[in-house]
Assembly symmetry: C2
Homo-oligomer: 344 residues x 2
């Protein structure tokens, strides 16, 4: 069923039917009702490609997912983020499209998306330090918004980010206040901007407290469970092992915990752990009492805010770029306690 046959069936012109369905005022309420009725009955929906061609709008938001460095899609954070984003899309009538990109082809892909006109805007996930995609997108002129920021990029762009530096600074201070001096950081990949900032916060808190940051206590990699386990096990075997560990995600914290258990140590008593908690639905930080002391910020909520802002940007291209900083809250759970030395 297409417009033409529907119009013929109704003995009306395509124009009138189209206008009736799109809420234009030039059509009487009576015919509008008649048209809507018929549309429902015949299960008519305007062909999205034709509509897009005519309007120049795709009503689709693009997500470009790096493939070989597998961060984004495989990271459990991805699902929650997308769930949040989809909530906003659904209310505004947008669909979301994912395009996989192999490393190095990024410039290509963005050019292609813009030229093909298959999306009205894109969400830039997982920004790195000095991320070239930002100037690229500005140059191309495709509306975009960044989930996170990019240190080193001076250009003006739209972003939503968690205050990663502050939250890890606070977490570190919290441990210092508990008497810890050997505090390890099991960070994400530090070319990722969020990890870069977290490290800054961690280092700054240490320095402020007069503790010299120890490079052997700072690790960086993709935030898997196995990674958390591996690094913790290694560090616990050190001559002066850490008494506290900052982990980058719930998943890696689970690995940290496994290593602590295996070493015959007790969480909180022997080794304190603080993790960042993205508040993932499938991996809640406990039910009533949090398992881990954590810096918490819902990535699902971030997704929703982000996509809403992008849609606003698409619909009002000339509005100035907006930003939104989310503060992570520090929730105290069962994984932290006074430093062992302090106790004696």
């Amino acid at each position: 069923m297409n417009l033409k046959t529907l119009a013929r069936k109704l003995q009306l012109s395509q124009t009138t039917v189209s206008r009736a369905l799109n809420g234009y005022p030039e059509v009487s309420e009576a015919t509008r009702r008649r048209v809507e009725e018929a549309a429902r009955e015949h299960n008519y929906r305007p062909n999205s490609r034709a509509k897009g061609l005519a309007t120049g709008r795709a009503m689709v938001i693009g997500h470009v997912i790096p493939a070989s460095t597998q961060h984004e899609m495989l990271n459990p954070v991805f699902g929650d983020f997308v769930a949040g984003a989809s909530r906003a899309y659904a209310t505004y009538g947008y669909d979301m499209m994912f395009t996989r990109v192999d490393d190095g082809d990024e410039e290509q892909i963005y050019h292609a998306l813009a030229a093909k006109g298959s999306v009205d805007g894109v969400i830039l996930q997982g920004p790195r330090v000095n991320d070239v995609r930002i100037p690229l997108l500005n140059r191309i002129g495709l509306p975009f918004i960044v989930h996170g920021r990019s240190s080193g990029i001076e250009e003006n762009y739209c972003w939503v980010d968690v205050n990663n530096k502050r939250s890890f600074q606070r977490a570190t201070e919290f441990l210092i206040d508990l008497g810890h001096k050997r505090i390890a950081l099991i960070n994400g990949l530090e070319d990722m901007d969020f990890a870069h900032r977290r490290r800054e916060g961690y280092v700054e808190a240490l320095k402020t407290a007069g503790i010299e940051p120890d490079p052997t206590l700072m690790r960086s990699a993709e935030m898997t469970e196995v990674y958390g386990h591996h690094e913790t096990r290694a560090m616990l075997k050190m001559e002066e092992p850490p008494t506290a560990i900052l982990a980058a995600s719930m998943i890696s914290a689970i690995g940290v915990r496994r290593a602590i258990d295996e070493a015959g140590l007790t969480l909180a008593r022997d080794v304190s752990v603080i993790t960042h908690d993205d508040d993932l639905s499938y991996l809640r930080n406990g039910s009533d009492v949090p398992i881990f002391t954590a810096t918490r910020s819902s990535v699902q909520q971030a997704g929703e805010i982000l996509s809403r802002m992008l849609i606003e940007k698409i619909e009002q291209p000339d509005a100035p770029n907006r930003n939104h900083m989310l503060e992570a809250e520090l929730v105290v759970g069962r994984s932290t306690g006074p430093a062992p030395e302090t106790r004696r």
Copy 2:
């Protein structure tokens, strides 16, 4: 840059340029090269909506994601599945589109997708027992493939599934062979087909061994960490607690493990655990030695097979429906041991 201006620039007709770019033989190699060169130089890409309108193909695969019962998207499995699928899409030139659907609107959504023509086919994720979406899609005539199967649906359809029944049957037998008699099942939601089948396998193994299934040892809910923890804690407080637990996913198994630790018991020695392992990239079951004994089947691989089969179906609509059964392998890790009674 569009076809028209590109053609004008080349002093050629649109027809010739289009044919040159789409590999038709009616154009000389010389002009083809000239055209390709110019297209590259001007960064020309055919507008996907216009192309779609003309060809009747969207080159997009749809994923419909249930929203309120949040299983699919939030489940960490989602990311890995999509990553696998995207690999196939990328090689065949398809994009993937996600549409969020609130409960009850499913019929609507599929009708809309088909009528709007915004996708060439859909992947049906998370089939339930007696899933009405299958007859619906058959009726609508939109190409689709099911990730899993649906018990109770007799219609002919295309699917890829893990042999869930067999794998849980084997896992249960494995525990029985170790002397366990009180074996608990912490299952997923049992209106989901995969969970339904796992339970069948579990029950059948028990009965075959002459063990009467105990309803108090069978739990069912969404497979979160907190759920695994909660049910395990409850069961360990029973008069006759289980000596072995079958968990439905790595995430819930982590919760199971946490409850065992908290109860002061030791994994494998006091309580054995087997889990299903979807081989998620961020949640590998250990590095060299598996953490958990598990039935393992890569969901990423499933995604790839599934999307490839769907594309084949789209490109050859008249080919008969194909199916693909994946066998989960049983990997023995450090979470299982002989039943406590047996040891004395």
